[in-house]
Structures are given as C-alpha cells and as structure tokens.
Symmetry: C2
Subunit: 490 residues, 2 copies
C-alpha cells in the first residue's frame, strides 16, 4: 500500500495530520470543530482510560456523572472562572424544533429557555453546586470523585485530538477539610499523571507549577506535566489544580469541622483529555507511521502468514494458534491476519502505519527451520528468531521496546533542553526549534506577557524541586532566584 | 439508621424515588430534567457497561465516538426520523457569552450560528453521514460499531433513571451488504440484550417485535425486550432496529457489491440506557431497600465486626483479612466495614438499603465457635455458618441468590401474564394491575390507538415465536391470527 505520509522534516503539521488520518485514528466531522474518533483510535483511548481509571480507583476515587448542561448564571459565581470559560462556549437557548408548514424544520420560538444553558466546558460549577447538598460534616470529607465526560469549548482553529470543540476527558473534583489535604491531593494526582505519561505512554514529562498568567481560571495553583514533541514544541499533557476555597465560597459549601466550627471546604480538580492521543502520536511516531508503546498498543503482535499453498497455510496456522494461546495467557494481545485479498507487503505497511510493536512473518521455509521473521516497529529492524521459546522472547522484547521508546524520547528531550542566559539567546534557541529553554525570569506577569508577544513562547512551568540559583531576568535584567522553562507550545 | 422508605404497596412511585435517593443512586440536579448519578449508582452502571461492552466486543463490534452536535438539517433528511426526534431537543444557537459591561453575563448576539446544532437525541444521522466516507465496497462491510455516549431528549415530566432529559446509553450502528445480514444483526443484538437482562440483571424479559405505531422513527422493524415491574407495569428495557436502507438513502451511502453493482447499504441500530438502572431497581427491591443481583452488585459481601474490645477486633480483623484474600481470589468483591463511629445496627440497615447480597457479622463469640452470622439480602434470612470453608460457601450462595432473584421475578411475571378474551376483561385486568395481558388484536393502528386512548395500555410487543391461534380482536371483533401483549408501561 502507498502510505502517502508527508515527511516530518518537510512539514511536521501535515505529517501529524497524515498519521492521524491514515492510521485510522480520527477524522474531522461535518460539524465544525468536532472530530470523529475512529475505532482504532478509540481502542487506544480505551486503553488509556482503563489504566487511568484503575489508578484513580487505587487512590480512593469513585466515578460519578453530572449534567452536560450548566445554567448560565453559575459561571458568574466565580469571578475569574467566568472570564476563562464562559466566553467561547455552546449556548442552548431553545428546546424544540417545529415544521414551518412548508416542510422546513425551524426553531420553535415559543420554546425559548428562561435561562440559557451552557454545554459544560468544565464542571467545577455544576459539581460544587451539587456538593453543597453532600457535605455537612468533616465526616463527609474527603470527597474523591472523578467523571469521564465530553466537554465543549468553542474553538476557531482546530487540530485533531490537540484542539477540538468537543473533546473527551476525565475531570477529578475533590473536597477536603484542610488546605493541606487539598494540596496533597493536587500533588498526588500530578504524580499519577506523570507516572502514567512515563510508564505507559513512554513519554518523559517535566512536573511543574504554572505561573499566575497560565493558571486555570479559578485556581490558586495549577500544577502540570509538560512533554516535548519532536518538533521542539511543548505540550501540556495534564493539569491538577489547587482551587483553595474559591468554588466552596462561590457555591456556599460549608462543613462542621472536628472542633464544631463551620468552615468552607477546600478543593482540587484535575484532568487529562483526548489531547493525550495527540501527545502519544507526536512523541514517538516516524515517517512510516504511528509508533505505539507496547503498553498502550491495542494489538501488540501481528502475525502474517507467507504461504505458497494451502498446505503451507495449514501448517503455519496451526503453529500460530498454539503461539497465540500462549501469548494470550501471558497477557499479550495478538492478531493473526490471514486475509487472502491482501498481499503480505500491503499488510506489513498497514501494521507499520498503525504502530503495532512486533510483526511476525512466517513462511513455509520458516516452518521447516523452526524460525519466524520478527520485525520491531520502533527500530524497524528485522531478525530471525527460533519458534522454540518465542512466547517468552516476545514478552521480554515488548518490555525492551517500551523502554527503548521511552529512552529515545528522554534522550531527545535532554538534547532539547538548553539554558539561555540572554534574551537573544532565548530567541535564537526558539527559532532553532531547540525545545525547552531554561532561563531566568523576574517573576512578573508583565515580563512574561512581553516575552510571549515577542517570541510566541510561554513559560511552560516552574519545575518542581527547581534548583535555586541567583541570576538576572533575561528580559528585564532584574534579579531572579531560579530558572523557568520556556517553549513554544501546542 | 431510620430508612424512611415509603412502602411500595402504599405508593409505588414514592417507594421508587425513596430507594433511588436513600440508596445513594442518583438525585435530581438543579438543571431541569437532568440527573446526577451518584458514586454508588454509577458503580452499578459501570458493571452494566463492562458486561455489555464485553458482549459487544465478543460479537465483533468496536467502539468509536461521534460528535455530540448534529446540524439541524440532518434531521430533515429521513422523513419519519425528524418527526420522532427533532421536536423535543436541546438547540444550540450561539457560541459565545459576553459581559454586558454591568457585570451581567449575556449571550453575544454577534456569535449566532448560521445553522443551529441539535444536541444528539440519537446518532443515526451524524453516523450515517460519516459512514458515507467509510464504505465503498462490500469489503468494507459489515461495519460493526458501538458508541457509549450521553444523549438529550427534552422531557417535561422526568423520573430518575426512567425518563430524564439527559441520559447515558450505548448505541450500536451497523452497516451490511444485504437485508438478511442486517436483520440477523438486529436479532443477534436483541439476544445479547435478553441474555444480559436475564443472566446478569436476573430480570426475565419477553422478546418481541413492536407494532408499526411503536416503531423507532426511521426503522422498518423494531425489536424489543419487555420486562414486568412489581406494580404490574411493563418497561421496555432495550430495542434493536432493522433500519432497512432508509438512512443509507437519506445520506447517500452506497457500496459496490461482489457482482460489481452499486447498491445502498443496509442498517441496524440498537441501544440500552441508564433506564436499565430503573428496571433493575424496580424488578427486585423491597421495602427495606435495594435488592441487587450478585452479578451486578459493586459490593457482593459486606463484613461487619461486632466487638466488645480491641482484642476482639484484632482477632476478627485478622480472620477477615484472610477471608477477604480468599474471596477476592475467587472473584468476589468484599467490603470490611470497621468504622468506629457507626453502630452495627446502623451498618446493617445501610447495606440492606444498598442491596448488598450477603452480610456477615462476626463477634467475639463467633471467633470462639468458629462461626459467622450470615444474612441474605434477598430473603432477609439469617443463619450461622462455619468459618471453615466459608469462601466456597459464599461463592455458591451468590449463585443461589442470583438464581433465586431471577426465579422470583419469573414467577411474578408468570403470575402476572393473563389472557383476556374481551375488551371488558382487558380493562378489568389492567385496572387490577394484572401485568401483561395477552389478547387478540386486528392488526390495525386505529384499533391500537383507540385502546391506548381508552385504557392507557399499549401493545408492548408481538412476542417472537408467538403461537398462531385463530381468534377475534377484543376491540373490533375482526379476525386475528395471534395474541399480542398489552400493558400499561413506563
């Protein structure tokens, strides 16, 4: 099959789109800004969901479901929240259509809502309005809840997975008796996200804190994990917010503490979305297509028979059945592609495009020799491997591939994290697609804003456990105690 | 704890609401018609989802995700579909809010959509519009796709789980090369639903076909499973539709068949929703609270220590740890409730309310005797059971409880399915809450409509494999070849 993937060195953005489309991950829908997640793409999202959901439950959280619609007035209750979210959103104003008598379907103007409903862009407001009824005493705390849902933020310029009007995500919303507990929760969930990104997605991340400019609307502190893509741009892969008592005050959620005093509740919220799919694609893939870390690959091993006749195929299939059973019992997902209508070369290209970590090709000669031909997707190397002990070999190789993909991404990030000691140096590095640039900043929103306007780079984060170092701000020359990470970002 | 549940004989509807609220399953949200599914309720829905999802995958289906919004014009493309779904729906007309300068958040009239978007009430239109790009040849068929999603149908009168403006569901949408294959799929998925209802929900169902009046808007045939609730009303628990070529024609989805001829594609769609939660509650519960079939209970066994001192508690806990490990390895979910703040009696009432199938109470005397006190939720019987071999005893008992709950519901349904041979008899039976009434009908929509207006009963279905029997319509006296099932319904 002709893959028709643009080279990433030629046009990274087109390369990304080609991979998403040709690997059957997603496509633009006819509804502006909304995507269709295709079965193969969705099966990767399901793996992401399953792993995260287990991690949330293992850390004591339960899932629940809150309404899609939020009354307009709720957004006004938390002052900074409304600026951040209520501007670009889908507004429901009517609840009925009718036939105008000429066969046209029109909005029924007699069915106008008294108060408009907003399709949730995030659920803090509706959830905290609900928590008021659930929390009375310290005994009701902590309340540790997560929701898997669709959300809508109206976007003018969209990119599949990275920025779409509707997207899928999870949003954790927790309530605590003390500020300290809420901060601990915020940090714990950041660790959960970081571990997921590194261990499962094979994608190294920097854990950090956002500057006030980049905070979530309504948060006292926003923690994030930042990853580096192959084009030197950063991608925020997950955020965890310490909300203080802002939403509790806005929605009047109080509790009686152990001493019998009434206080407002402390809050956190945290989320990751289908944007992770974009990160996963960009972190590892190449000009031959998607490269998936084995732990998130819906198909880990594909087997293609190369037979001259029915007899060959029968022998091969019988060996494959046995191997498949062994691999499945070891938790490996296997696909045997014995379609007759396609040639082996077509299949090879297809699974390469789809990022299947290991491909086995087995012919009549292999059966005589007791071997298989094994191709790794990550290195694109082929080797001949004995059929004897193949199942164990594959399990170990999957681990090796997972580690290799991670190490490659880590090496890339290390090579693309540079210190800049002057503003010119920063600009030069950014223009050279140098990735993360570590530089001194005077800590003011004004300087940050100027740098953003002039270079299109933002402060991705102040890394946690940052080294303290005396220096001067590259922009203002004012004193600074630590470096922060700049980058252009998705 | 005081349960405060209305007796179901006194007020069935209030009893239902009490159970939903007090067992912490769901509550009304502040958004009219929308519910909040609480963690305990959602954990039951998650079990339902997991089982169904596996069944869908085992029958060859993949999950995907399509947009929440559907352009208004799409509904006009399938003539009967628009009448059925586009009337009561949430209409998005704008995509921005703004501050009016006086601190009020108002709709930005400059951000009006050219074409209104409808929040999906069901996704045939958007999905078939997408399938046009996915299907060219018979090689692309069958296309077997399912979506887990939220949908919105504007409802004036709502009841938690049973009828809400927003609800959660799955919708399967399949495409086939022939009518026969599409019908086979429709019937196969009905069997999947029936098996789920009976084997997992312990709820007997009648499989049948809807009359034309009750068909899904746009279907050639609607198959359904109908269950009987304890108040003698029927509940449609799932539907599977043979859509013919209606949507393929409306959205111009054609394929080249094996003979090289171009044809329209054949379709099915099928769905179940959070309504199943309502059915599950009403099928089995009693005045003490929820009764859950073990296979869908988030907690299958709860253990309550009854200790006089720390020494007692230590012994009991050590035994419980061991038992819990054994039960978990056998796939049984166990909760050990050693909260100090609540008394055993309070805990007993709470787990009874929440429908936990088996409750163990263990005191110091039990530890001396090597016994536990075991209470079954379904029969509310207590017995003393030996600690030796308790894990195996419990596994067997869970099966027995599952079977008992099913048999009880089956017996109820059998006792509440009656033949009527005159219209008076039908009316009398309906008023006496007799459940399903099997009667002859002349096959005309007019008669069906008259009976519905006069008795509030509908034809629930024409049972599959119905016995052929000569008779006369109870309403018109015209000849009839078979009986159909009448009932008042949710």
């Amino acid at each position: 099959m002709s893959k028709g993937i643009t080279s990433k060195n030629e046009d990274y953005s087109q390369w990304y789109n080609d991979i998403v489309m040709k690997a059957d991950l997603a496509e633009h829908s006819s509804v502006k800004g909304c995507m269709v997640i295709k079965p193969y793409g969705y099966s990767i999202w399901e793996k992401i969901q399953a792993v995260l959901d287990k991690k949330f439950k293992d850390t004591g959280h339960s899932n629940a479901y809150f309404p899609l619609f939020i009354p307009k007035s709720y957004f006004s209750k938390e002052a900074s929240h409304v600026e951040g979210f209520a501007t670009e959103c889908a507004v429901v104003t009517h609840y009925r259509l009718k036939n105008d008598g000429n066969g046209n379907i029109i909005v029924d103007e007699t069915a106008k809502l008294e108060e408009e409903l907003i399709v949730r862009p995030t659920s803090e407001t509706i959830i905290w309005n609900t928590y008021r009824g659930w929390i009375q005493s310290y005994r009701d705390l902590p309340l540790l809840i997560n929701q898997w849902a669709n959300v809508v933020r109206w976007e003018m310029r969209t990119r599949l997975f990275l920025r779409t009007t509707e997207f899928l995500w999870q949003e954790g919303h927790t309530a605590h008796a003390t500020a300290q507990e809420a901060v601990e929760e915020t940090e714990k969930m950041l660790d959960v996200y970081a571990d997921f990104a590194e261990t499962w997605m094979a994608m190294p991340v920097v854990k950090g804190v956002k500057t006030p400019n980049e905070r979530f609307a309504g948060a006292l502190d926003t923690y994030c994990i930042e990853a580096l893509m192959q084009d030197g741009k950063a991608l925020q892969a997950g955020t965890s917010h310490f909300l203080g008592q802002n939403f509790a005050k806005a929605f009047d959620v109080k509790f009686t503490n152990k001493e019998g005093k009434i206080e407002h509740v402390w809050a956190s919220s945290w989320g990751v979305s289908t944007r992770l799919m974009g990160a996963l694609i960009m972190a590892h893939s190449d000009d031959a297509g998607l490269v998936l870390p084995p732990k998130l690959a819906p198909i880990q091993v594909v087997i293609v028979p190369i037979h001259k006749n029915e007899e060959d195929l029968k022998n091969i299939s019988s060996f494959v059945d046995e191997l498949t059973a062994k691999l499945k019992s070891l938790g490996v997902s296997v696909k045997y592609d014995d379609r007759e209508a396609q040639r082996p070369g077509f299949k090879f290209a297809e699974y390469e495009l789809k990022g299947v970590p290991i491909r086995l090709a087995i012919g009549g000669r292999d059966m005589e020799n007791g071997t298989v031909e094994l191709a790794r997707r990550d290195t694109r190397e082929k080797q001949t491997v004995a059929q004897e002990g193949l199942d164990i070999f594959i399990v170990q190789l999957l681990d090796e591939i997972q580690a290799n993909i991670y190490n490659k991404a880590l090496q890339f990030r290390d090579e693309h994290t540079t210190e800049a000691n002057s503003y010119d140096e920063l600009k030069e590095l950014l223009d050279g697609k140098a990735g993360f640039v570590s530089a001194h900043w005077d800590g003011t929103p004004e300087t940050e804003q100027k740098i953003k306007e002039e270079t299109k780079a933002t402060i991705r984060c102040i890394p946690l456990n940052n080294k303290q170092e005396d220096g001067v701000c590259i922009y203002s020359g004012k004193p600074s105690k630590q470096r922060v990470l700049f980058a252009r970002a998705y």
